[in-house]
């Protein structure tokens, strides 16, 4: 009986190891191809005999990317848009979450429900009217227009996430501060926010990556090359150049770095942000 169980446990573990290896290969293969291509010279990328690894690793593709394409401009635009969205989402969602958890007012529950609805409303349903609205506000081809549109999906999610954390802070702390003469904003700034730093980190991470990755709004609301962000900028390398795959893979590698860095940095906090399906997958 015990021996049978030990044997079945061994088999399960062996199967597990095989599955694990397969999953790792499947996960890393395209990334391997991305990295190695970015380090190859054109004769190893195209042609008759294509090696699976770079024989003479070179940074030539990165030089071309930086000197001959608009990549740095796209990268800068993406940084501006993602950082602005993150800061504004943090401010709006902290204020909103505080009001929804601490200031009793009629219609509070209805409002919270509305937030979930707005979060689940897909962008692909809204981009046509949004284009008309943004044009009429004179915000087409501006970073402000993009940031404004992105707040539509970052704010509901971030507010919802923060509400959960704010509710876990004992209200006595705030009450005693207020009897000491602290204002509501003071309580939020001096007591609530410092206690929710991990939650704020998660909120910042999601706002940043969601706006860094966004594609539909970016292609609809911006047509001007100077304002394009990475997701709508770099696919155009395909049209612009025949031998583009080297620089293209260099650009995808660099564009994946900011979210990856944030991911490695915040990894241990992220699991807590999962209750609402933090990143769309």
């Amino acid at each position: 009986m015990a021996m049978a169980r030990a044997r079945s446990e061994k088999i399960t573990r062996a199967i597990g190891s095989v599955v694990l290896v397969l999953l790792i290969v499947w996960t890393l293969a395209p990334l391997y191809w991305m990295v190695t291509t970015s380090l190859k010279m054109p004769d190893e990328i195209y042609g008759e005999d294509i090696p699976l690894w770079p024989r003479n690793p070179t940074l030539e593709n990165y030089r071309i990317l930086f000197e001959q394409t608009n990549f740095l401009m796209y990268f800068r635009n993406s940084l501006i848009v993602a950082c602005s969205t993150t800061v504004l989402s943090l401010v709006l969602s902290s204020l909103g979450a505080y009001a929804l958890t601490r200031l009793q007012f009629p219609g509070r529950r209805l409002f919270a429900r509305g937030l979930v609805y707005t979060y689940l409303m897909p962008e692909s349903l809204l981009f046509i009217p949004l284009l008309i609205i943004v044009v009429s506000l004179g915000l087409q081809n501006t970073h402000q227009g993009l940031v404004f549109a992105y707040l539509g999906f970052t704010v509901p999610f971030c507010t919802w996430l923060l509400m959960g954390y704010f509710m876990s802070i004992p209200i006595e702390l705030e009450e005693s501060a207020m009897t000491d003469g602290c204002s509501r904003l003071g309580v939020l700034y001096h007591i609530v926010l410092p206690l929710t730093v991990p939650a704020l980190a998660v909120v910042a991470f999601f706002s940043f990556t969601l706006s860094w990755n966004e594609f539909i709004y970016a292609s609809v609301l911006v047509s001007d090359v100077d304002v394009r962000t990475i997701p709508t900028g770099i696919p155009n390398f395909i049209v612009e150049d025949v031998f583009f795959w080297g620089p293209m893979m260099a650009s995808t590698l660099i564009s994946a770095i900011p979210p990856l860095v944030v991911y490695f940095f915040f990894q241990r906090y992220l699991i807590t942000g999962l209750t609402l399906g933090a990143v769309k997958g």
């Binding site: 046509i128 990755n213 997701p231 696919p235």
Partner: protein, 312 residues
């Protein structure tokens, strides 16, 4: 309510109370001020656009020209077209197969990562990486992996002697949709793995120990402890993912944009092409509104679930 809230700091109670102080002393007024920016933003970029999209679907609208009401003409045009019915079928196929594969792979990954093994942290970090890769970046990378002449798949398979000539993965009618789904699965599996791993770790160990004393085997424990305990996690994950998968255009837009012959076209990307490339905004909105009732079912169920979960 009026003056008793001004603190004892020597403020003469005869003076009029400043506006800000009056607001901050009333919970309702303060809540309204705190929520005002959120209300403004969400009204302009989510709520109003939604009703606007609905009304556009009954209009003939092109950029720069005011819309003209046409009743159900857009819907009649769509459903009279056999190509459109094909796109509806594609969307259903793409969503169901994509979600199912992500579910199976995500559950396998979570079960494996939940086993005791050395360096598990490293394996977990690796398997989560595609989740942090932007979908546009993932799509461009896979476009290169699928390349007919120089892509990884064809280079590898030719060198292994499995194929003689490169396969056009994205142009072959029988393969194209599967190639698209593979990218969606690659990028979206970690979302499932994370949810499922968190769910597995929340199952009390005592349940398994008790079952072992009763002589339950691995399969038995999985079917009668793991699966029932994970039911909520399963439903929430699948519903969220269905909404996000069926409405995401990135992978299709970058890899094939619907080619070959519309075989990989899905509703949201079709709407995108109609509204942006050909300027038929009314018809494009009607396409989205065909998908919307199905989404609405999931959105209502999900909201109920999420609120129940967040309520305690």
């Amino acid at each position: 309510m009026t003056t008793d809230n001004t603190d004892a700091g020597g403020v003469a109670y005869e003076q009029p109370i400043p506006l800000w102080e009056r607001i901050s002393n009333s919970r309702r007024a303060l809540a309204f001020v705190f929520l005002l920016p959120t209300i403004l933003v969400l009204s302009v970029v989510v709520v109003y656009p939604f009703f606007f999209a609905l009304s556009l679907s009954f209009q003939d609208k092109t950029p720069g020209v005011p819309g003209r009401w046409v009743g159900f003409a857009n819907y009649i045009e769509l459903f009279g077209n056999s190509e459109f019915l094909r796109i509806v079928y594609n969307t259903a196929f793409y969503t169901v197969v994509g979600v199912s594969l992500k579910f199976v792979l995500g559950l396998s990954a979570a079960l494996v990562l939940n086993q005791k093994r050395r360096f598990n942290n490293i394996y977990r970090t690796i398997l989560f990486v595609p989740w942090a890769i932007p979908t546009v970046i993932a799509s461009l990378t896979w476009l290169w992996v699928y390349n007919e002449f120089n892509g990884l798949l064809n280079v590898l398979f030719t060198q292994l002697g499995l194929i003689e000539y490169g396969v056009a993965w994205l142009a072959e009618p029988r393969l194209a949709m599967w190639a698209i789904i593979a990218v969606v699965v690659w990028n979206g599996t970690p979302f499932y793995t994370m949810h499922f791993l968190a769910g597995l770790q929340a199952i009390p160990k005592e349940l398994y120990e008790a079952a072992e004393i009763d002589g339950a085997g691995t399969v038995h424990k999985f079917l009668f402890i793991t699966v029932p305990s994970m039911r909520t996690v399963f439903t929430i994950t699948v519903m969220l993912s269905t909404v996000f998968t069926s409405t995401s255009i990135v992978v299709v837009n970058i890899l094939t944009n619907g080619a070959p012959a519309g075989l990989t076209q899905i509703l949201p990307n079709f709407s995108f092409n109609l509204a942006i490339a050909t300027g038929r905004m009314g018809l494009g909105s009607a396409v989205n509104m065909v998908l919307f009732p199905f989404l609405m079912i999931f959105i209502i169920l999900l909201t109920a679930r999420i609120l129940r979960k967040g309520g305690d």
